[in-house]
């Protein structure tokens, strides 16, 4: 039976939800606002809102001072590439864990997740050296590999959860129907898990796009994505908040738009299995 909710309670929870949403969105909103202010207005104290000097100058300067399209393209290649490579490895792995689990499968899953708890800085030096030795430093393929490995536990965990929802009998039916292992994964499992795979893909593109630590550490110029583009605006001469905000806004805008249009899919994907 549905629980009755009084209009007063509904109003209060709605207001609370709006308050939290505004609180979360405020830094992004303020950053976008700052990107349209002059440098003087941006650092004014108390902060200026209505009386600020508005300008598009920051965007013009950021665009002319740096090669935005190249950074953007690097971001696209690295985030999409690492996600696709991750999926190619994770789909068979998650299949094995979900449908032919061994005695230690649960432990393996926990161990994979535990690697996400390790501070990245702890392995920075070995990975940096390794990348230099292998000639992967400042290459897109190097970053694709690094980000793929970083996000692989999340991809496998998400897919494992989706695959567990698919009845094993359907895969057995495919086996009886003569499907080889790859045909079973290709024609039966993957199409049935498309919503889950799509959510996993979206989330990982976003994670890879937003990753800053490794992308800044492992690149200099050639393979640098938008996170490095933002960092390049924190000049040694001092912080130029308005320009930094404009650069940040340009860096996050593509992924913000992607997230906005796919939010239904993302929310469904992230709560899949939790609410049934």
């Amino acid at each position: 039976m549905a629980r009755a909710v009084s209009p007063r309670r509904k109003l209060l929870t709605t207001l609370a939800a709006w308050f939290v949403a505004c609180l979360i969105f405020f830094p992004v909103f303020w950053m976008i606002l700052t990107s349209f202010k002059t440098e003087a207005s941006a650092v004014a104290s108390p902060p200026e809102l209505l009386g600020a000097d508005w300008t598009l100058e920051n965007y013009v300067e950021v665009w002319s001072r740096s090669d935005y399209p190249r950074f953007f393209w690097n971001s696209v290649v690295i985030s999409v590439g690492s996600t696709l490579l991750g999926l190619a490895i994770a789909i068979p792995s998650a299949w094995a864990m979900a449908f032919v689990p061994g005695k230690r499968t649960k432990d393996l899953l926990m161990w994979m997740l535990s690697t996400k708890m390790m501070p990245a800085v702890a392995v920075m030096i070995p990975i940096y050296l390794l990348f230099q030795q292998l000639g992967l430093f400042d290459t897109k393929i190097g970053l694709i590999l690094a980000l793929m490995l970083m996000n692989l536990p999340i991809i496998i965990w998400m897919l494992y959860t989706y695959f567990k929802e698919i009845p094993g009998e359907i895969l057995e039916a495919a086996r009886m129907d003569g499907a080889s292992l790859w045909n079973e994964i290709l024609y039966v499992l993957t199409p049935m898990a498309i919503p889950g795979i799509a959510s996993t893909m979206l989330l990982n593109v976003i994670l890879a796009w937003n990753e800053a630590f490794w992308t800044i550490t492992l690149t200099t110029t050639k393979a640098a994505p938008l996170s490095a583009f933002i960092a390049s605006f924190s000049a040694p001469q001092g912080l130029f908040y308005a320009k930094l905000s404009a650069a940040s806004a340009m860096a996050i805008m593509p992924i913000l738009i992607l997230g906005w249009f796919s939010q239904k899919q993302l929310v469904r994907g992230l709560t899949f299995g939790a609410v049934k």
Partner: protein, 330 residues
């Protein structure tokens, strides 16, 4: 061809011996039903034949060839699952054609076979629908369609009707029997419903704790059960099994009397009616008889006996005798 032989087939899951060692011959074209209580190993046995489970030891021969280590697809068998196991993202047409596509058959031949199966199973109007848009009975037909297009050596059915309602179950039961009549292909059917077993089978295999208790035609099992387990399992309502002095009178440890072999009216046993069910054609009553326990009686539809009545009963028909080990006495 669809001759299947099992030789000393064993299956263990860790320390649990689900099937401790079993021999069975299934002749070409036979309709064999595996029946037994929950957990008796009947589904496991079917999955061993299908190749979905590996045998711990023993040999499974299909048409004279050792198939023990062959993968499911290479055994030439088709299976219909309890949950139908249809591919939800494919249309009925694609579901039925899937095994043909996997076999690399050309499109024209695929279409021809799908159309033919759809006609036999009354699915011609639903070929472009997805399984989610079909009723339970239609889904089951699609599952059968997917099995028949391959023209397998044998069909395996794993409790295929247990998700259907009672009326549909009777209809589908007849359809499967008719399909067997027309295809004349070996069918192995697993069920816990002994009415399905009795009505469909050429040969029933009664399983208990992974062992075969008896193999035979439905009427052989009904009239000549080899032991107390089969006597109690086959037949509805259940056979009355009586021990003690009453059995001793017949030089047996246990005697068994079918409910229809007891008459109401006059007789040596007197008791109080507990439950009485009047179905119109038959009446099923349970009578608490002092010294014997609850006795099941099957009487005529118009039997005028109700809860609380004191009545007399008499055995009037075959009395089955069993020794202390539960085995039938001659």
């Amino acid at each position: 061809m669809g001759k299947i032989q099992l030789r000393q087939v064993r299956k263990s899951f860790g320390d649990v011996h689900v099937i401790p060692g079993l021999d069975l011959d299934i002749e070409d074209g036979e309709f064999v039903v595996f029946v037994g209580p929950s957990g008796c190993g009947k589904s496991t046995l079917l999955r061993l034949i299908a190749g979905l489970e590996d045998t711990t030891s023993g040999v499974i021969d299909i048409d004279g060839k050792d198939a023990t280590n062959l993968p499911p697809a290479k055994r030439g068998l088709a299976m219909v699952f309890q949950s139908y196991a249809l591919y939800p993202h494919m249309t009925v047409r694609k579901n039925i054609a899937f095994p043909l596509k996997m076999a690399g058959m050309d499109q024209a031949e695929q279409d021809k076979r799908v159309e033919r199966a759809a006609k036999v199973l009354n699915l011609a109007n639903y070929l472009d629908r997805r399984p989610g848009q079909l009723s339970g009975g239609q889904r089951q037909r699609v599952a059968i369609g997917r099995a028949i297009v391959r023209e397998p050596a044998a069909f395996l059915f794993d409790e295929p009707l247990s998700n259907l309602d009672a009326a549909l179950r009777v209809g589908m039961r007849q359809e499967i029997s008719e399909l067997h009549q027309s295809l004349k292909t070996t069918m192995i059917y697993v069920t816990h419903d002994q009415v399905e077993a009795m009505t469909m089978a050429d040969k029933i295999v009664v399983l208990n704790a992974g062992n075969i208790e008896q193999v035979g035609s439905p009427l052989t099992l009904y009239h000549n059960p080899k032991n107390v387990f089969v006597a109690g399992f086959i037949g509805s309502p259940r056979m009355n099994l009586i021990e003690g002095p009453e059995a001793a009178k017949h030089n047996a440890h246990t005697i068994g009397i079918r409910p229809e072999h007891i008459t109401v009216g006059d007789g040596p046993w007197e008791g109080v009616v507990g439950l009485s069910e009047h179905l119109g054609s038959d009446s099923f009553i349970k009578v608490d008889v002092a010294g014997l326990g609850i006795i099941n009686v099957r009487g005529a539809g118009e039997l005028n006996v109700h809860h609380g009545d004191r009545i007399k009963l008499a055995p009037a028909g075959k009395i089955h005798r069993f020794d202390a080990n539960g085995l039938a006495l001659a």
